[in-house]
């Protein structure tokens, strides 16, 4: 036998080896020498190069505002009244205000400081949701935001308009405002360059450390320069930075495992961005807006509220320095530690290899069959294509139906039934002949590979997670009637199909890795992410992963063997 046929025979092994390589490639990223230290790419940013003056008596003013905002909470003041009062405070120092009314998502108060040196074409946003992701009243954040803007209004240096936004929550309410800003608002202040969200949901003067959130929707990330500026300034002011929601006692850890943990948490957070609790930065994703959220954690500590306030101050000054848009630094990266990252070139090959794995399995299903020499252009291919189209259409209908009627139990039940079909069907179906089964498999894997390839550049974390989770699909064997080990194969197939079913897999992984997404929460999260935030993870899962899985399931149904002799004629 020649080298090529030998190689072709070993395709499944090759593919499994490739999968292993892909995982190893991710695993070696946190090793010393594989990652890079962050740096500021755009020289104009100059973070922390100017002395920050948000201190001393500004603290009194923040406390003054806070005492009044606490009253809102104590007296349970309604949104409308609260907005009216804050509006009058903002107008006192010359801010143009307006309220965006939205019956579905709540009113949003916003104000624009038209800056004297600016040309009114660009803006920086300071966004303060009244209630944070944990539904706590953002009392410190609101006081800080108003105090900061009042302080900013005294400076003549601003070259971009400053916008302050008080939305009801950091999720749908803020997102609807951002959308309205780009469609229907009458009071606007130019294109938004960057947005800083402040989350300080305590009335304490002190805090412990700062969590920075940066994930955008649909695989988007803010420019690494903005994240670096935020991290650098926060650390410069003497605060500890936690990324991806790491707890305080693990912030200082260095070494391979902590870096790997941050990396994997980053992949998790990015995959589930918009599906889990949002912090505000997600709402700005798109429209070329770079956004981060600064969350003050802990009420005890030696960091005071003005120190925390100097972080947005210095970020604003940095962004204000920009003459161009954010474009110098990376838009695709993974963080390993606040000051360590890898760029797309280090991790993308892993996702590419995963998509090759599926292409390899597709090739395997084409050449390594018992039906003889592979011919691509035949009736089976055409039928498979028709079946694939039907599967795609079904998946789309299912995706749409679920968005309108999100009943996860029903969805899972339907999928459980589909999983059982190959197990329960003992007799071969007459239409499903063996060559067709194999051809369906070819198309299933090919589609998966194509879907992953097109997704991996846009949304690496999702492509990677999908690729890894649907791997058990490749272990599903196509069986023909009369095989000896039918029972074992059927059970193995059923387990693999269950594990690689998009809905079961997402359910399992969300419950294992994310405490926020317990039980069936992930499904509601997926639907609300689409409805509230235009995050298309649900449709990617339904339209890319589910049809492929359906085809593989179909190929696992017992098929009628075809006499090879007959085929040859």
């Amino acid at each position: 036998m020649g080298l090529v046929p030998k190689f072709l025979k070993q395709l499944p092994k090759v593919a499994k080896l490739l999968m292993l390589i892909a995982l190893i490639m991710i695993a070696i990223i946190p090793m010393d020498g594989q990652y890079r230290r962050t740096y500021i790419s755009e020289n104009a940013l100059m973070p922390s190069q100017a002395y920050s003056y948000f201190r001393e008596s500004e603290w009194n003013i923040v406390r003054g505002y806070r005492s009044q905002i606490e009253e809102f909470k104590n007296n349970e003041v309604a949104t409308q009244e609260r907005n009216t009062i804050v509006e009058s405070w903002l107008q006192d120092f010359g801010i143009k205000t307006s309220v965006y009314h939205n019956e579905e998502h709540g009113d949003t108060l916003y104000g624009i400081l038209h800056t004297p040196r600016g040309d009114g074409t660009e803006a920086i946003v300071l966004s303060i949701p009244w209630f944070n992701s944990d539904d706590e009243f953002n009392v410190g954040g609101a006081a800080l935001g108003i105090g900061l803007l009042r302080y900013f209004s005294r400076w003549p240096i601003w070259s971009k308009n400053l916008i302050i936004v008080f939305s009801e929550n950091p999720r749908d309410s803020l997102r609807s405002w951002v959308e309205a800003y780009h469609t229907s608002l009458d009071l606007t202040g130019g294109s938004i360059e960057a947005a800083i969200n402040i989350d300080y949901a305590s009335n304490s003067d002190f805090l412990d450390y700062v969590e920075i959130y940066y994930d955008g929707l649909n695989g988007e990330l803010p420019n690494l320069d903005l994240l670096n500026v935020a991290v650098k300034i926060t650390q410069h002011e003497g605060m500890k930075v936690s990324l991806n929601g790491q707890s305080k006692d693990t912030i200082d850890d260095t070494g391979y495992l902590p870096r790997l943990k941050t990396l994997l948490l980053g992949i998790r957070d990015s995959t589930f961005a918009g599906i889990k609790k949002t912090h505000g930065n997600e709402a700005f994703s798109g429209w070329r807006i770079q956004a981060v959220t600064l969350k003050a954690c802990g009420e005890q500590g030696n960091i005071d509220i003005t120190t925390f306030g100097r972080v947005p101050e210095a970020i604003f000054r940095s962004v204000n320095n920009l003459l161009e848009k954010f474009h110098q630094s990376f838009f695709f990266y993974l963080m390993l530690a606040p000051r360590n990252f890898v760029s797309i070139s280090s991790y993308l090959p892993s996702a590419v290899i995963i998509s090759i794995v599926y292409a390899t399995f597709s090739l395997d299903a084409l050449v390594n069959t018992s039906i003889g020499s592979p011919v691509f252009y035949n009736t089976e291919s055409l039928s498979s294509l028709v079946i694939w189209s039907i599967a795609l259409a079904t998946s789309y209908v299912l995706a749409q139906a679920f968005v309108y009627a999100p009943i996860p139990e029903l969805l899972l039940a339907i999928n459980a039934c589909i999983v059982m079909i190959p197990y329960l069907l003992r007799k071969p179906i007459s239409i499903l002949k063996e060559p067709l089964s194999y051809r369906i498999r070819v198309f299933g894997f090919l589609y998966m590979s194509l879907a992953l390839t097109s997704l991996l550049v846009i949304n690496f974390p999702l492509a990677f997670v999908m690729g890894v989770l649907s791997f058990p699909m490749t272990l599903v064997e196509t069986e023909k009637a009369g095989s000896l080990k039918q029972k074992t194969v059927k059970i193995k197939n059923m387990i693999c199909l269950t594990l690689s079913n998009p809905f079961f897999a997402i359910l399992i992984i969300s419950n294992v890795v994310d405490s926020e997404l317990s039980s069936l929460q992930v499904f509601f999260g997926l639907v609300s992410a689409w409805k509230d935030l235009n995050c298309w993870t649900w449709y990617v899962i339904c339209i890319a992963w589910f049809p492929a899985w359906l085809l593989i399931t179909m190929s696992a149904i017992v098929s009628t063997p075809v006499d090879t002799e007959k085929k040859h004629q």
């Binding site: 003056y53 008596s57 003054g64 009044q68 040309d119 009114g120 009042r150 003549p156 606007t188």
Partner: protein, 624 residues
Amino acid sequence: MRHSPITIALLLLCKLAFVVTSTEDPEESKIKTSDNHDNELFRVMEGGIEYPYEEVLNVRPLPHNHLLSSFQFQMNSEPFYPGQSLHGFETYDHYTVFPKSLEPLLRRTDVRKLHLRFTRGYWDSEEWGRLPHQGFKSGGSGVELWAVVEGSSKQEAYNKWKSLANGLSGSFCASINFIDNAKTNYPVFSFQPVETNFDGIPLFNETNELYLMHASLANEPICTENLTPLLTLLPSKGKSGISSLLDGHKLFDSIWHNMAIDIQTSCIDNDRYANNGECYFEMESNVDVVAHVPSILSRNKHPIPKPLGGEDLHCDLSKPYDAYQCFPSPETTEIQFSLSDIFGKNISGANDLSFTHSKICASVSDNWLATIKVDDGLFGTDDNCFELTENRNYDIYMESGSTDKVIPVDDVPIYASRSLTGYGQDHGGLRTVFTNPTHKPVRLSYYESLPWFMRVYLSTLDMEVTHGNKEGFTLNDIVESQYYIPSIDRKRSSQLEFIMTIPANSTIALSYEFDKALLHFTEYPPDANHGFEIESLIITILEPIPYQLRTATLLVYLSTPDFSMPYNVIIISSTIMGLIFGTLYNLITKKMVPMEEAEKILATRSIKYKLTMLKQRVVSKFGF
């Protein structure tokens, strides 16, 4: 105004001395003045020669402690005779107060009317009411230029216009020379001179026609480099009179500032085609500036706005306050300042050139006190207007205990704002919101020029009533006439003009969509990643009152390649190509051999060896 008798006497002495020295040929000037009884170009007064030049400064407090200072300078040129050739040996030009740098340019390019604007900042019309001079003296953010040029054809007029732009570019240190075909528009509804159909604008050649051209450079930075040339155009050169207040540091540190030059040609003879009539240029220059007084005063005190000391905090006493917390009280309503605080300089003396004395007026309500400070004395007048008559240091001192009361601002007939809409890099939309707060419908003209790379879909033009009577209004009811010139790639911008009526008490949003074109890579500006500036939308109100306003400029972002990326790719691929080519070329053309073999080969190539071989062959052939 009161003066001490001694100063008046001194002043008279000075001026008499000036008369003796400067009027060398009084007869000639007398003849001239008697000739031009309609329009005195200069006349000899007891104080000396005085020229057709006037300057006025109007200071007006606006709500929320803002102060509008409007400088106005007016001057006329010496007469000229359109029929006369410019280049004759016998002719000579005589210049007095009219800038020598402008007049030859104006005459060479046959400009009948010229308007140049340098504007920057945010005019808060909700607080401050109408723009100064009803908006007709201010431009959009950046530089704006429009002119009426006489020419035999459109192309000739354009050539003159281009020449004018180049000339002004040099005079004002601004990028006006970037005005080209793609930036020049010929307005149809807007900017039409007050003299309808150009009647009243002199035409020097009967066969010629007048062409109105407009161009603007959005967000062209305005700085001291533009102010200094403007000051040198004034006869006082910024050294005396009210122009001595103008200082770049303070002027450009304001909330809104505007510099304008308006020149028009006037002819004595009423006949429009007065080829041999006597004509002259009238020039008006305005500088308007709005400053926020408390912030300027505090910046004079502490250049860096550091946190205030505990004793300087103004707390709201109705809310809890102590040594740790302070709810800030609204802005103070007590204020005292002098113009030297705002402009950083005193007025250094009167100007001695004009017909009338330099004048400063304070438009204030009764709760304000405005006085003039001459050296160390303070003087007041009934009408709050002061004339500068002496060569001494002047300053205006103003104070009020209730700055929330000012002369009521004029109601604005319309508010307009424009914003970019849409998501993504390939298309977008423009949305303009008109708010008519008055009880009368407002008829206006809408003028918008968009660069060619914004491909407008006029079919998507849509109207939405966001506030007010929503019933019964369609786009056709609002827009009564449209004028649209589509763009030509790289050659012409698209021009959109409407005449529309905004119903009373309503807010209307007009929106349309556009595609963003792809540019050639050389067409990107050096700072490609900043975006492309889109000039302001210009709204001229026709009824009920004439008024003009402009929206803010916009920044459109086109899909921009990362220019460093192709550079890297070119470098890397060139290196690889070089390496591969070198290696391949060597492999193809050269042969690798060991040293011994190479020596053998070399040995066979020598002439001596060849001779030996030849000899051997000859010997073997003849069989010796």
